[in-house]
C-alpha cells in the first residue's frame, strides 16, 4: 500500500531510505499494472485490483466507518470503470484517492440519511471507555470532516491538494479542517 507509506512520510514518522525504496517499488508496480491493464491485459487488471483494494478500503473505512465495505465496493467500481479515462498512469494513486474519498463521502451521507434515528444513539461523551475508541470519536464527525482529516492528517496532503480532491476552494478545506480538528479534540477529551 504505497500511499500509506507516503502518508507516514507526510506526518514525519521517520521512514528510512530503505522504506522509501520499497514505497517507490510498490508505486512503480501499481503504475506498471495500470499501463498493462489499459493495453488490454486483464490479468494485470486483476493484479491491479488486488494491489489497490487495501488502499481504497483503508480510505473508505476511515470516512464511511461501518459503511466502509459498501463504500469500498462502490469506489472500486468507480475507479475501475473509469481507469481508461486516467490520462497519466503516473498519477494513479492521487486519482484513486480522489475517487475513493468522493465515493466514501457519498456513501456515508446516503447512509446517514437512511438511518437518521441512529444519530440519537451516539454514545455519551463522558463514557471513559468509549472516549478511548477513536472510531467512536470519528463517528461523531460528518463524512466531510472525516474526509478532510483523512486527506490532511492521514494521507499527508497539503491544503490545496486536499481541497482539489474534495472539489472545494482551499479556504473551505482549511475551515473544514479547523472545525474537524476542533470537533475531534472536543469529542476525544469528552
Amino acid at each position: 500500500m504505497p500511499p500509506a507509506d507516503h502518508a507516514d512520510r507526510g506526518v514525519g514518522r521517520g521512514v528510512g531510505l530503505g522504506a522509501d525504496r520499497g514505497v517507490e517499488r510498490r508505486v512503480d508496480r501499481g503504475v506498471a499494472l495500470a499501463r498493462a491493464a489499459r493495453r488490454g491485459d486483464t490479468l494485470a487488471l486483476h493484479d491491479l485490483l488486488d494491489h489497490l483494494t487495501p488502499y481504497i478500503a483503508r480510505i473508505c473505512r476511515s470516512i464511511a466507518l461501518d459503511d466502509g465495505p459498501d463504500a469500498t465496493q462502490e469506489a472500486l467500481v468507480a475507479v475501475f470503470t473509469s481507469l481508461r479515462s486516467l490520462r497519466d498512469p503516473e498519477a494513479l494513486y492521487g486519482w484513486v484517492r480522489g475517487i475513493s474519498v468522493r465515493e466514501a463521502v457519498r456513501v456515508a451521507k446516503r447512509a446517514a440519511r437512511a438511518r437518521p434515528a441512529e444519530l440519537a444513539d451516539v454514545p455519551e461523551r463522558g463514557d471513559p471507555q468509549l472516549a478511548a475508541d477513536i472510531d467512536d470519536v470519528l463517528s461523531r464527525l460528518s463524512p466531510q470532516h472525516r474526509a478532510v482529516l483523512v486527506l490532511r492528517d492521514v494521507e499527508g496532503l497539503d491544503e490545496e491538494s486536499a481541497a482539489a480532491v474534495l472539489g472545494v476552494p482551499a479556504g473551505t478545506a482549511k475551515s473544514r479542517l479547523h472545525r474537524a480538528r476542533q470537533s475531534f479534540r472536543k469529542a476525544w477529551n469528552g
Binding site: 491485459d41 465496493q73 475501475f80
Partner: protein
C-alpha cells in the same frame, strides 16, 4: 473489510468494456459449488461451454497455467489465478472469470464473466457473450450436487 469474490468480479466486469457478469444463487454449500467450479481438470471443463478438456501445466501459489481444448479442436493457453471462490484465467484470445461466496444459509452466490478478447484494450467482444454465460450458469447448476 475487502469486497466479496462476487463483488470483485463485478469490479472486473465494470473495468472491461463489453463484459457481462451473470450471477446466480445455488442451493448448495460453498464447498460443493467450488468443488465443481475450481476443479480445473474436472468440473470446470464440464460446465464451461465449448470446453472439451483442460490440463493444468503449472501451479505456483495461486498462479496457474493451463492448456484448454475446445470442442472444435481450438487450443487456448491460459495463465491466471485460482483461489477458493475466485478464478481468473486469460489466454491470448479468451478470458474466463468466476466467483463464489457462501451466503451463510447453506446457499452459494456465484458469478461468471468472460468471452473473446478485443486486442489492445480491456474489452471483450460483446456479441453472444451473455447467452454463453447464462448457459454456463445453467450447466453449473446441473452439475453441483
Amino acid at each position: 473489510m475487502t469486497p466479496s469474490n462476487v463483488g470483485r468480479l463485478r469490479v472486473m466486469g465494470a473495468a472491461i468494456r463489453g463484459a457481462h457478469v451473470v450471477e446466480g444463487v445455488l442451493p448448495s454449500s460453498f464447498d460443493e459449488v467450488w468443488g465443481v467450479m475450481g476443479d480445473l481438470e474436472g468440473g470446470f471443463g464440464d460446465f464451461q461451454p465449448d470446453m472439451r478438456s483442460l490440463r493444468v501445466l503449472r501451479v505456483d501459489g495461486d498462479r496457474v497455467e493451463a492448456l484448454a481444448r475446445s470442442r472444435y479442436g481450438l487450443r487456448a493457453h491460459f495463465h491466471g489465478v485460482l483461489r477458493p471462490g475466485w478464478g481468473w484465467l486469460q489466454s491470448r484470445f479468451l478470458v474466463v472469470g468466476m466467483a463464489a461466496d457462501a451466503m451463510g444459509d447453506g446457499r452459494t452466490r456465484v458469478a461468471l464473466t468472460g468471452g473473446v478478447r478485443v486486442p489492445g484494450r480491456p474489452a471483450l467482444v460483446p456479441i453472444g457473450a451473455r447467452g454463453e454465460l447464462e448457459r454456463a450458469m445453467r450447466r453449473l447448476g446441473e452439475r453441483v450436487p
